[in-house]
Amino acid sequence: MTTKTSLLKVILLGDGGVGKSSIMNRYVTNKFDAHLFHTIGVEFLNKDLEVDGHQVTLQIWDTAGQERFRSLRTPFYRGSDCCLLTFSVDDNQSFLNLGNWKKEFIYYADVKEPEKFPFVILGNKLDVTERQVSIEEVQQWCQENGNYPYYETSAKDATNVAVAFEEAVRRVLAMDERTDHLIPTDTVKLHRKPRSAGTCCS
C-alpha cells in the first residue's frame, strides 16, 4: 500500500521570547523547558503525521525572533508552505509587531500571491494570568489582514499546540491543490523480517 507523502515546510515567526521554540518542542517532543535559550539563526525538524488521510512530513522551521539575527533567518523563508505568526498574549508589543513579521516574510519568501498565502496566527502563553492582548483585538486583526485562523496556545500546558499545526497542514492542503510540492513518495510499510547475511561465493 502506498500513499502520497508531501513535505510541508512550516515556518514559525514572531518576536524573541514569545515561545516559538517552546511550541515546536511541545509539538514534537511533548516537553516544555522553562529556561530556554534564545534561538540563534534557524533550526528545523521533521515530523510525520496524517491529516484527513493525507500522509505528510511536516518540516517545522524555528527562527530567531531577535532583531539582530535577522540576516541569519531571512534567507530561509523561501520555499515555505505555511507561516505561523506568533505573539505572546502577555506582551502587547509582540502582537503589534505581527504586521512587521508578515511583511518581512512576504518580502524574503518571495511569495507570488501574498493575499492567498496561508498564514496562521498563534497567541501563545495562554496560561499566563496577566494578559495584555484581548482575543477581540486579535480576531479583528486577523479579519482585516486576510481572514487568518487564530489559535490561542500554551506551550507550557500543551493547549491547542497540535491543533494549530494540524490546521496549518489543512490550510496548505486545502488552499493549494497544485501538486508541485507534493512529492510522490512511495511509502512502503512492510514489516520484513530481518534477513540474515549470507555468503554468496563458495
Binding site: 515546510k9 515546536m24 540563534i40 525538524l45 515530523k47 554468496c200 561465493c201
Partner: protein
Amino acid sequence: MVHVYNCHPFASQQIVQVEQEPGLFCCGGGALFVVATGGCKVDAYNLEQEGCPLICRFGTMGTVKSIQHSKIGDYLVTIEEKNSSTYLRAYTNWRYQAEEKARVGVRLLGHLLRGASVRGGAQMEIIEIPLSERPIAVACCSVTGDLLVGCENTLILFTLRRQNQQSLQNQCQQNLQGSWSNSQQSASQSQGHQSSSSHNLSVLDFERSVILHITKMTPKQVALCGGYLAVQAELEVLVLKLDASSEPTSLDESSDTSKDDYLEDQADLLLIPRQQELLGDQARNCDISVTIEKTGLEDKGQYTLSYVLFRRFTPEFFQGCSVEETQLHSLQLYPLFTSNQSVSTEEPACLFCFFSLPNAGYLYSLKSGVELLSAYQYPERVQEAVLSDHLLHVITKNALQCFTVRCAAVAARTEDPYIDTTMKACPPNSLQVCALRMQLFIGLRSVCVYGRHVVLLSTVDTEPREEAERSTQRRSLGRRWTISSPKETSPAGNGWNLYVVDTVSPLTLYKEMVEYSRQYAETNPQAQSLQHLLSEAHLLLRAALLQTPGQQQNDDGTSSLQEDAYRQDEGQTAVQTHRQQLEEALRQNCAQLGDCFSRASQKVCHLALPYYRMSGLSVTEVIVRNRPLPSSPHSYGLGFLFYLKHYLLEETEQKLSQESADEVIDIFSRSSPSELLSVCASPSMINVSPARTLRILQHLEDTAGVSVPLTIAMATMVQRLNDLPQYTQLMERHAEMLLVYGFIEEPRLLLHGGGGAPRTHVHPTALSRQLAKSQPGLLVAGMVALHENNKVQLEQADHIFKELGCENCLQVDFWEAMLMASSQETVIQELLFRLASVYIDRLVGTNSESGSSFPCTSQRRRSLKSTDDLINSCSHYGALYPWLIVLCPAHTTSCQHQEELYKLQSLLCGPSLSIGSVQPLLERLSEGTLWGFSLHLLCTTRRGQYDISIEKLLDRCPQAIIAYANHHLQDKNMGLWWQKLLPELCDRTRAAGENSILLAALKETLVVVATETSPAQFLELIPDDGTASYFLPHLLTCTQRHLLA
C-alpha cells in the same frame, strides 16, 4: 586478448534492511547513506558492522537529486529540489542526529555564528550554499574536502574551512550575553558551557574560491582531487589543473586566448566533431574554452589554469550501443599516496582519471606525464563503474564484475624511480588488464564502493525474470565472462534490494591467484599466462601495501570521535602484522616471478635477477629451485644463468658453501663454459673445492685453448692446494707483461670487492698474497695496470697493500711505479707528496737512529726501482744538480738512507713536486748534516731565493758555489753574478785572507762577469780598495770582447 581468471573476488553478501525503496545512495566514513525514491530522508547505515545496522536517520530540506559524502570533514552534500527550485546543501555533524527528533541547525555559507557551535557542535547543521545557477553535478575532493559544483556553464570551487570550536565559543559567548532575557537562564548558561567545552570539534564552512566559465560543454558529472578538476559531458571529458599562483594573471593573456577561441569557433562550424584525445598541454587545443572569473577576493591570491586531458568520443564509433545509449558515465579522479608520503600534508603522488562508455572504460594516469594507462573492453553494456583501491568494479544489468587495475604499478614507479633496474622490478604499467569471476544479480541499477564493501541496488520491476535467465544462458554460451555460480541472487518480495557485497582481502585474492597459478606452472611453465597471473598477484600486493597504516586511519572520517584514540593502539599492532603478512607474500611472489622469468625467453629473462633479489632468497635457495628434475630434458634457464652470473659478478659479502660453489661450477661448465673463469674469480666462490675446479679448468683449457687469465685461475687453485712447484710452473708459462694483461682482463684474480667503484671495500686475493711474497714486481705492475684501467682506485690499492702488510715497502714501490705510469695530474700530485713524505720519514727515522718508525726498515729489501731507474724512466724525478755531487759526495752519507736521499733530491730537482707542500715536512730535517743542508738548500733554490742560497752555500760549502752559480745563475738571474756573488766573494776573501777556495771562486766569477758586462759596468763593480793588478786582466778581456762586438 583479455585474460579472464576464475578467481573469486567476492566474499560475502548482506542485504541492508531498508524500509523504502532506495532511490539514491552513497558511501563514506564507514557509512552507507540511502535516500528513498523521491524522498526527503536519509538513512545512514553502518557498513563496518555485521548486518549494517542503522546509525541514524535525518530529514532533508527538499527532494534529494544527488548525494555525495566527503571523507574530509565527514559531511554530505546534496542537490535538492523543493517547489521547483534547486538547492545545494552540505549536511555536517550528521552523526549527532542519532535521535530523529533532534533539531537541525541551518545556516548560510559564510554565516558561522551559530547556535550549534554554542552547543558544542553536538547538533547536525546544514549549510545552504546559494548559487546563481542551477547545480547539475557536485563532487568532493578526497584530499582537501573541497567542493566542486558543476552548473550549466560554470564550475564553482568551494574551499572547506574548519573553524576551531574554541575560538568560536568566545565569540558566541559574548554574543549570548546580551540575548538572555532573564537571569534564570544564567544557570543553564554555565551548564551549557560545561558540556560544550568537553568537545573540541571544528566547525565546517565553505568559501567560494574560484568560478570557472566553460563554453560549449555542459557538465553531466564533475570530479575534484587535489587541484585537478574533471568535467564530463555526454561524450567529452576535460581535466584541468588549478594552481594558486602569487602572480596575477595578466588581462592581455586572457583576452588573447579568447581571440583564439573566437577563430576556432568559426572553424568548428564547418566541422563535425571528431574523435579526439589530447594529452597534457595538448589539451589546450581542444575547442572548449575555460576562463577564470575573479571572485573579488583579491587578497586571496590568483589562480592559474592548465589543461591536462581532453577526450571526445563520437557516438557512431561504438557498435552494439544505440546512439542514445552511448554516453559517458562514472567519472572519477582517484588519488594514490605512495608509502613514503604523509597523507595529511602532501598532495597525492599519483592521480588517476577514470571514465566509462557503455562498452569501454578508460583509465588515465595524470601525474608525471599524462597517459592512457588501461582501456577496459567490456563484453557487455556496463551501466556504472567504480574504481576502488585494488579493482575496478563494473555493473551490467545482471552482473557485478571486477577488473584488475594498474595504479599500483604507476605508484611503485613514482615512489622509486630505480624500480626498473637489476635491483628491483615491478610488472609494467602496460600489463594487460584482466577480468575476474563475476557475480550474478538481477536488475542492477547502481553501485558504490567503500573500502572492500561494494554496495549494489537492484530492482526487477522492469525486466521479466525469463528474460534475465535467457541473457544468462547467452552469456554462458559466449564464455567470455567467467560466471560465479548458477544460483543467482534475485531480489525477492520487494522487487528491489540493496546489497552489500564484500570483496575478499587482497591477500586472500592473492592466495587464490597463486593457487590458480600452480595449474599453469604444472601444465606449461613457459606460458605467458603464468607470468601474467603472477604479475597480477604482485600488483595486488603492492596495491595493498600502499594502503599504509596512516592512510587507513585517515580513511574513516570519524577520527574526530574521541573513542578512536583508545582503539588506535590496538589497531596499530594489527596493521603492523598485516603489513608483515603482505611483505612476506610479496617476497614469495617475487620468488615465483623469479622462477618464472628464469625460464623465460631471451627478451625478459633478465627480470629473474631483480625478482629473485627482492625475494630475499639466498643463492643456494635459488639454485635449488632451479635444479632440473632428473627426468626433465630442461637444462638451466637463461634467466637463472643471468641471475647467477650477475650475482657472482656483484661482489656480495655472501660466500657460498663449498657444496653450492661446486654446484655453480658444474652449472656453468655445463651451460656456459666461457663464463667459468669469471665465476671462479668471484669472491662468493672462495670456498670452491680447488682440486675439482682445477680439473674442470684443465678440461676447459683442453677444449677452449690456453688463455692467460685461465692459467692464472688455475694457478690460484694450485696455490690453494699448496703445490708451489706447479704454481711456479704455471705462472712462468707467460711473460710478466702478459700476466699483467690477464689481470686487467679479470681484476678479481688480484682483488675482491670494488669493481672499479669508489669507496667500496676491497681485499687482496690469496693470489695477491702469494705474489707479494714471490713476485712483488708483478703484483705492483698488476695493481698499476688495474689503476690505469680504472679497475681500482688509489685508496683501494693502498688498502690492498695495507692488508698485505706492505704499507711501507711494496706500497711505496707501487706509488713510484704509479708515478711512472700515471698521467692524471691530481694523482701525480698526490703521489709526489706521499713519496716525498715517505722519503722524509725514512730520513728522519734513520737520522734519529730510532729506526722504529717503520718496522719494515731493518729487513727491508731493496726497492724495486733505484733512483737511477726512476730518473731515467720517470719525468717527475729530475737528474741531480751537479753541485749536489760536490756538496755531498756519495761516501759522506750512510748507505742506509742513501737511496731515499737521492730519491728525495731527485724529486726536488724534478719539475713536478710542489715545494710549498713539502716544505713543512722538511722542517723536521736538521740542516746540521750536509745532506740535510742540501735538501733545505734545494728548497730555497726551488723557491728562487738565490741570494740566501748563495750566502748559505758560501757559509757551508764554498767549493760548491761555482757549480751552483753555473747551474742556477743564468738568463734573468745572470745579474746575480755581479750583484750578489761578486760582492759576497770580495767581502769574504777580504775577511778570510788567503782562502784558496774563495779566491778560486772569485776568479771564476770575475771571468763570468767580465764576459757578461760592459767595461764601464765592470769598472763600477771593482771595489774601491781592490788591487788594480788583480782585476786588470779581467777588465782587459771585457774591453777586448766589447771591441770585437
